[in-house]
């Protein structure tokens, strides 16, 4: 049998008696987005470094914070989810800038900082391409990094005409927000991928 989820106080487990009405309600719920605002929800920092959420009489000891459009709209459509594996959606914050308080916004951004950790490449020192792999030696906003990518696959992706996302062998991400800001010298190194 499934482990009972111990992070959730309200009970809506599937094991109880079959009830068509309830199921239809669930389905209906699934088809609707619930928008969270400062009026209907209260976020709070937990002592363990996470964030909790209270909506009316629902309380979640810990929630997951996902971006729905991580690249194109990082501050809009923030999806708040339950912390178990199914990560069922609790609600969506449509606009982080206006719909919630400044404190809430800060604490949610803190949560997302780890999830979307992506060093921004500020300087390219060297790129060597050898036998199907490319070795990057760069300086990022988090300090100097050296990483390796596959030449073959889709390790280098254009998010826009000028924005590059680079994924290393382990799936770590690095970003070049605007290639036009690179020097001619750096561009020449990156030439392989342009």
């Amino acid at each position: 049998m499934k482990k009972n989820d111990n992070n959730k106080l309200i009970d809506n487990t599937a094991e109880d008696e079959f009830n068509l009405e309830k199921m239809e309600k669930e389905t209906e719920e699934m088809l609707k987005l619930r928008f969270l605002t400062k009026e209907n929800s209260v976020f709070a920092r937990t002592e363990g470094g996470f964030v909790s959420l209270k909506i009316g009489d629902e309380f979640y000891k810990r929630v997951l914070v996902y971006r729905v459009f991580p690249f194109t709209n990082p501050e809009g459509y923030i999806s708040i989810r339950e912390p178990d594996e199914k990560a069922k959606e609790i609600g969506i914050i449509k606009d982080l800038r206006n719909d919630v308080t400044k404190e809430t916004r800060e604490m949610l951004e803190e949560q997302m900082r780890l999830r979307y950790f992506t060093p921004v490449i500020e300087k390219i020192i060297d790129i060597k391409d050898e036998y199907g792999f490319a070795y990057f030696d760069v300086v990022t906003d988090h300090g100097p990094c050296r990483f390796t990518i596959h030449m073959g696959g889709s390790s280098v992706v254009y998010l826009s005409d000028t924005r590059l996302m680079i994924t290393d062998l382990d799936g770590n991400r690095f970003e070049i927000p605007d290639i036009t800001h690179l020097s001619a010298h750096e561009l020449r190194k990156l030439d392989l991928f342009l």
């Binding site: 900082r113 792999f133 988090h142 100097p144 062998l169 392989l192």
Partner: protein, 796 residues
């Protein structure tokens, strides 16, 4: 109950290992807190703070504590990720200031990792009185590079908690990374022990030479031909210059005497010279023909061997290899690469040898005739070669770039061809065209910069050749006028030689480019040949002519990406001849499970047995023959309907093919097509509907007559009526076979002997239909839902 934890003693060796790896500074720091190094079970590096900055840290599991060490973020330190760095420089400056957190293992209720995009966060919750545990508390954060080791600690912790002790086997973790023994740098892919840094262009070159090894005698003949040709090439200017002008036309009696021609007859001498010149030409032609014949026998064989090697590995490679690469025209690309490689070796290298030989021999002769003039003519040769060598990496780079641009254009093209209908349906032709144009421009700009570079290269050689000619004429005339022993014939011979050098030099300029292109192709080809298939047949694989069809899964854990399990500890037993139904919501892992049974992937943990034999030990041939799958995404390849049906058994008779099609209720629609069973279907051929494809794949399975049949939503894309027909053929098909059937519609699974419900990668319910209905679980809910939904719609 969990109060006393028992540990097996760590062996001496293990302790040594830990000491060796954990830096001394860290060990010293720990000893200040009464943590002895022999208490340490294992540890993991971390590389981030909880605020999302890079910083070194450790997670250390000891006999009774979990210790988290953190240092301050240090932006001056270089962070190296997978594939970078060597063994020697691996360990970190350990003189850092550490902040430490100690947690007694007894106090920990849960220890888990939350995965993020580029790594994860370790957190725990404390044990509390009563049912509830304390709040979740973040402990450490790290990038993907470290996540394997962290998850290992989490696993050890859970074993500890459950069993109270750890065995040495469980402590041991696979060596995390492997390093090139030669240069000590980390292999980017430890399965494929190839060090990109040591695998330089020279070794690629030598590797290609190996393909020519079986042809050594022929190659020796070829080389002899080259040498003789080159030698004869030298005679020509000598004859037409020095001999003709200085000896015969200037009526040098001494010379004629030395030839032993009686009576100093110049006509005879002239005739003789002409004859020698004529014979020289003829011989060169004949040698050329011999070379041609040799080439024609060697080249096709070498190309064939390369191609078949490439295709062999490609066939063995599992799907994930192709997932990680753009497949745009992979086949054509490989073929073209093989041709480029051999092209250089067969057409290029011989001429290269001839030309180098010609250049050297010419130089020697020139120096012997008149070293001053020779120096004037040849002084630029070493310079130009040095420049060429220096330019090689650039050329290499340009060829690589052009190749990548081409490939991404091809894959875009492929996408558009296969998705043409979608593109049109959504009216996206224009935007697709724009996107294609962008790719196209990339190819063009890559090609342009290559051509530009090429032109510079070529211009360099032409300029040099002209300078050399002017030097010889100028300097030669000067010598002629000022020095008595300089003869006109020598000057003419010299200009002849310089002119003759133009050919080889032009060729050399081309050879450098050719070499770069061909090595570039070779590298890509070897990349594929070297790729080790994840699914490999054991060398001493067990042959199983007949199978009964008992299947057993033991603690099977599997995920498409490491550390992200899709299936968790699945245990399952299916008796021969029985039918198992699998139910679960989409994404639960049903298809994944059957993919493992047909060994498209291997489980990361646990084993799968057929008739008690581990499927990893069964010969591919027997496994493929005995396990057939009708899946939700049917694979129709380019060919006739008959060929598609007879896929597993190409020799099948017409009778068998038609019989199989009838049983799959496919016969009817096949007959209605104008070309019947000979209709070409697949990518370029006639398009079939989803249901038609599915019926063809069922016919394929019927014809294959497997012992184990897997139906993965085999009737997902057909209407109710056809489903009834197919259901009938499936009912026929499952007789005397072990059947695993995945279906959304529970009515399809009516005849199943047993059912399992999979949710989130775990088996949550198991039993017969009646048992599951009694359990009133997910299955019951599904069943009620379906019958009520049907009742409401008035069906059934």
């Amino acid at each position: 109950m969990r109060g006393s934890l028992v540990f097996t003693a760590l062996s001496e060796e293990n302790i040594m290992d830990i000491k060796k790896k954990l830096p001394n500074g860290v060990l010293k720091f720990l000893s200040g807190y009464q943590v002895k190094s022999e208490d340490i079970i294992t540890y993991a590096n971390t590389d981030m703070t909880l605020e999302g900055e890079f910083a070194r840290g450790y997670i250390i599991l000891t006999q009774n504590k979990l210790i988290i060490l953190r240092s301050e973020p240090d932006k001056s330190e270089v962070y190296q990720f997978k594939g970078y760095g060597s063994k020697n420089e691996l360990d970190i400056r350990s003189e850092k200031k550490w902040a430490a957190k100690y947690i007694s293992i007894k106090e920990i209720d849960r220890l888990e990792v939350i995965r993020s995009i580029s790594g994860g966060v370790l957190y725990y919750s404390e044990k509390k009185e009563g049912l509830e545990s304390g709040p979740d508390i973040q402990l450490a954060s790290f990038t993907n590079m470290m996540i394997g080791a962290v998850l290992h600690i989490v696993k050890l912790f859970s074993i500890l908690k459950e069993k109270g002790e750890l065995t040495e086997d469980s402590i041991k973790m696979e060596e995390k990374e492997e390093y090139c023994p030669k240069c000590g740098s980390m292999y980017p892919d430890k399965e494929r022990k190839i060090c990109p840094k040591c695998m330089d262009k020279k070794s690629i070159f030598l590797r290609i030479l190996l393909y020519f090894k079986p042809f050594i005698p022929k190659i020796i003949i070829m080389i002899l031909c080259y040498i003789v040709t080159a030698g004869l090439n030298l005679i020509w200017p000598y004859m037409s210059g020095k001999i003709l002008y200085d000896k015969i036309l200037s009526q040098n009696a001494e010379f004629l005497e030395s030839l032993g021609i009686p009576g100093i007859n110049y006509i005879i001498a002239l005739g003789l010279v002409v004859l020698v010149m004529f014979l020289t030409r003829i011989t060169i032609q004949v040698l050329g023909i011999i070379q041609g014949v040799m080439t024609a026998t060697i080249v096709p064989k070498v190309i064939m061997k390369m191609k078949s090697q490439v295709f062999q590995t490609m066939g063995e490679l599992s799907i994930s290899f192709f997932n990680s690469r753009q497949t745009g025209g992979l086949m054509t690309r490989v073929l073209r690469d093989a041709e480029r490689v051999t092209g250089f070796f067969i057409d290029g290298i011989p001429y290269l040898i001839i030309n180098i030989f010609t250049i050297i021999a010419t130089a020697i002769v020139m120096f012997q005739m008149n070293w001053k003039l020779a120096l004037a003519a040849l002084i630029f040769v070493p310079i130009i070669f040095t420049i060429s060598f220096k330019m090689m990496p650039k050329l290499w780079h340009f060829y690589g770039r052009r190749h990548r641009a081409e490939r991404s254009m091809n894959s875009r093209l492929n996408d558009n061809l296969t998705g043409a209908r979608v593109v049109k349906a959504f009216g996206q032709q224009d935007s697709e065209l724009k996107r294609f144009d962008k790719n196209n421009q990339r190819v063009r700009s890559a090609e342009m910069s290559l051509v530009n570079f090429d032109n510079k290269f070529f211009a360099l050689y032409v300029i040099f050749e002209n300078i050399a000619m002017i030097m010889v004429w100028g300097f030669g005339s000067y010598l002629l006028l000022n020095q008595s022993h300089m003869e006109l014939g020598i000057l003419i011979t010299f200009t002849g030689y310089v002119q003759q050098l133009n050919g080889p030099l032009d060729f050399m300029s081309y050879a450098f480019r050719w070499f770069s292109d061909s090595m570039n192709s070779a590298q890509r080809m070897f990349e594929i040949i070297d790729a080790i298939p994840e699914i490999r047949e054991k060398p001493d694989a067990v042959r199983m002519n007949t199978m009964e069809g008992n299947i057993e899964l033991k603690d099977v854990t599997f995920g498409y990406e490491p550390h992200k399990p899709v299936l968790k500890k699945i245990n399952l037993k299916i008796e021969a001849g029985k039918m198992l139904g699998i139910v679960g919501r989409s994404g639960a892992g049903k298809s994944t499970l059957v993919n493992l049974i047909s060994r498209l992937y291997d489980p990361q943990e646990g084993e799968i047995y057929i008739d008690g034999i581990n499927i990893k030990d069964i010969a591919f041939k027997d496994l493929r023959r005995n396990v057939a799958m009708v899946s939700q995404d049917t694979y129709i390849f380019m060919g006739t309907v008959a060929e598609n049906i007879a896929y597993a058994n190409p020799e099948a008779s017409f009778d068998k093919i038609v019989e199989a099609a009838v049983l799959a209720s496919a016969h009817d629609f096949i007959c209605k097509m104008p070309e019947g069973y000979d209709t070409v279907i697949g990518s370029a051929g006639r398009n079939l509907s989803g249901g038609e494809k599915q019926r063809i794949s069922i016919a394929r399975a019927i014809l294959a007559d497997p012992k184990i049949l897997i139906l993965d939503e085999a009737t997902a894309s057909v209407d109710t009526e056809t489903e009834k027909a197919i259901q009938a053929s499936i009912n026929f098909l499952v007789k005397d076979r072990t059947t695993i059937s995945i279906a959304h519609r529970l009515s399809t699974l009516r005849d199943a002997d047993r059912l399992v419900v999979i949710d989130n990668g775990e088996i949550t319910e198991e039993g017969t239909h009646n048992e599951l209905v009694e359990q009133k679980g997910v299955y019951y809910k599904l069943k009620e839902l379906q019958t009520k939904a049907l009742a409401m719609r008035g069906i059934d």
